[in-house]
């Protein structure tokens, strides 16, 4: 890999990405267009997050990469390997040790600190795409703060099903100005974006947008007074390994008995929890 520059991208590209990030931080929730570069991993496989990570990473950084809550998922391993091969930075699975965390579809269970940056991978940055397919028009709607479409879309779900039916990627209002897709994190993680200690950056490589939620920004999930926002509930269920109930759970099937059971989705959190209690070696 030594034929490539530090952190893969050429310096001008990194500078341009950092400028887009700064603009995003200055206008919380606003989608900043950027000339997304082609990456050696698939468009749609985290290239937006990866470009942010590569533009920010320095030799002193400690990197953690998660995919769907797991440090060992194929895509997380792949991204981590690419960053490591082109920078030589240290990596970790422990959330608290990382300075830079790239994640797909989860915010870690361990609360983030103000000296950490969370980079989320975004497949569809445009919250209004569900109701308006034209980019030209959605840009205008944001400029005019015209979000009736987003509200109506939730209202129709309630009329039809007596509840909202958006699972993950549930839209939020940032700093009382921009409606934003938080990336396909479960609703369980939405409250973690509000008033976060850490800077949270969002990268959509294929759609060529970067946006940000700076620390201590007000972020509310869209909801009506009589139909408040609800996170996923795992009522009566607990992690089979740790017994924890206040975490996001994965549903599993026992290959032998066919029985359904649940375990912590954030695997490094689970591992740390067990190590602290002296029960090691999770498998």
């Amino acid at each position: 890999m030594n034929k490539f520059p530090f952190a893969f991208l050429d310096e001008q590209s990194k500078k341009e990405i950092r400028r887009a990030i700064l603009k995003g931080v200055a206008i919380p929730g606003y989608q900043v267009p950027f000339a997304s570069r082609e990456m050696p991993i698939g468009r749609g496989w985290g290239t937006g997050g990866l470009q942010i990570t590569l533009a920010l990473v320095g030799k002193e950084d400690v990197l953690k990469v998660i995919d769907q809550g797991s440090d060992e998922s194929v895509n997380a391993v792949n991204i981590k390997k690419l960053v490591q091969n082109t920078t030589g930075v240290q990596t970790t699975i422990h959330t608290s040790e990382a300075t830079l965390i790239q994640s797909r579809h989860r915010i870690p269970e361990v609360p983030l600190r103000s000296d950490q940056i969370l980079v989320l991978q975004v497949p569809e940055p445009e919250p209004l795409r569900r109701v308006e397919r034209s980019e030209f028009k959605t840009k205008q709607l944001h400029a005019e703060k015209e979000y009736s479409g987003a509200w109506l879309w939730l209202f129709e779900q309630i009329m039809r099903y007596n509840q909202t039916t958006q699972g993950a990627d549930y839209p939020v209002l940032v700093h009382e100005r921009y409606v934003m897709n938080p990336s396909p994190i479960p609703r369980f993680d939405n409250p973690k974006i509000n008033d976060s200690d850490a800077l949270i950056l969002f990268g959509a490589g294929r759609e060529k947008k970067i946006y940000a939620v700076p620390p201590y920004t007000k972020v509310e999930s869209l909801a009506f007074d009589d139909y408040p926002f609800e996170i996923e509930k795992f009522e009566g269920k607990a992690c089979k390994v740790t017994g924890l109930t206040n975490v996001f759970l994965d549903e599993m099937t026992d290959e032998v008995t066919g029985e359904t059971y649940y375990v912590c989705n954030d695997t490094s959190f689970m591992q740390e929890y067990l190590e602290k209690r002296g029960t090691v070696n999770v498998r």
Binding site: F8, E11, P33, R43, W45, R106, Y161, G167, P186, K209
Partner: protein
């Protein structure tokens, strides 16, 4: 526990990668990059065009590495492109200076300089040539020398690097809908992200690097009733286009080489008003691609014209066309569906179960 076990992901990936390497080697056969470069012209041209990186050497390497998978080869080259600083833009180049190897017009029987058929599959019966099955290097050399001893056919009456355009004939007659010459610096879609409404330079760049199949299909849809552009191919020319750059503080241009290019100008009849009355003139739909990619360049000329004239069909809708034709984007996003989605699915599952359990009140 599936492919996101708590540990072991890394080892599994390593094993998969080794398996992939073995697939290329398992029959113990070898082909060198130079041989691919010499014999896989069509593949290289398509891949260079879609990756918007003109290098036959790297395209041949990408072909070897990807085991002939176009999608992967383009992907490799696009990713490589991201690591290269872009130092210069070429100066304006005119296809009238192309060293022409092939140049035909479907609009006129006789054109100045003549119809030059060059090398083309167009006049071929597509029958498998079983003699190639057993072809040896000695056969190749023998046939090559046979060709080289043949008498050179009649030469063009005009110099091949200064052939006039077919379009010029119509233009001199005042039948072309004229626009002022626009040589302003193009918007570079690889440096600034595309916004709408797009500029023509952005559209042409995205079309020329578009996936060949996607461009062909959309161009075809344009012909079949989803578009109003019905072109006559005025001219297809294929040849070597000289490229020059100019340094910032220097008036001189420097020749840096020539690239193989296909250029198409299609004639499309349009209504224009002239002195208060409606007349018919011709618009030009433009297509140009790296390498010899004639179908793609023609399809591009249809789409270029369709997008210049927005209408309420997908082919005339710039967002529909420009945002779906890129191979790295479409294949990347479709293939990402193979990634685990169990968190998002769990989130949805919880709602589906709840709605099923509680039922929905009758409206």
């Amino acid at each position: 526990m599936g492919y996101v076990a708590v540990t072991g992901g890394q080892e599994a990936i390593e094993a998969s990668l080794q398996h992939l390497s073995y697939e290329r080697l398992k029959d113990g056969k070898f082909i060198d990059v130079q041989a691919l470069k010499a014999t896989m012209r069509g593949f290289l041209d398509q891949v260079m065009s879609e990756s918007s990186l003109y290098s036959e050497n790297l395209a041949a390497l990408a072909m070897k590495q990807s085991e002939g998978n176009v999608e992967e080869a383009v992907f490799l080259l696009r990713a490589h492109r991201s690591t290269l600083p872009r130092l210069y833009y070429s100066t304006v180049t005119d296809a009238r200076e192309m060293f022409v190897q092939r140049r035909i017009s479907a609009s006129f029987k006789d054109i100045p300089g003549g119809q030059i058929l060059g090398a083309s599959h167009d006049y071929l019966h597509r029958l498998l040539d079983f003699s190639l099955m057993e072809e040896t290097e000695a056969d190749v050399l023998a046939k090559k020398s046979e060709f080289e001893q043949m008498e050179v056919p009649e030469k063009s009456s005009l110099p091949l690097d200064h052939l006039p355009k077919v379009m010029d004939y119509l233009r001199n007659e005042g039948l072309i809908n004229e626009f002022p010459l626009n040589d302003e610096e193009p918007d570079d879609v690889t440096k600034e992200s595309l916004t709408f409404p797009s500029s023509r330079s952005e559209r042409l760049q995205i079309l020329t690097r578009g996936q060949t199949g996607a461009i062909n299909s959309l161009g075809y849809a344009g012909l079949r009733g989803y578009g109003s552009s019905h072109p006559n191919v005025g001219e297809v020319r294929v040849g070597y286009q000289p490229i020059h750059i100019a340094l910032d503080d220097d008036e001189d241009e420097y020749y840096i080489g020539s690239i193989k290019l296909t250029e198409v100008e299609s004639f499309i009849p349009v209504n224009v008003s002239e002195n208060g009355k409606e007349v018919l003139e011709f618009d030009i739909g433009y297509g140009a691609c790296f390498g010899q990619n004639e179908t793609k360049a023609i399809a591009m000329s249809i789409l270029d014209h369709a997008l210049e004239n927005p209408e309420n069909t997908p082919i005339h809708d710039e967002e529909f066309v420009l945002l779906q034709v890129d191979t790295v984007e479409s294949t990347g996003f479709i293939s990402h569906l193979k990634l685990p989605h169990y968190v998002t699915f769990q989130s949805k599952l919880e709602q589906v179960r709840k709605i099923k359990r509680e039922g929905v009140p009758n409206e």
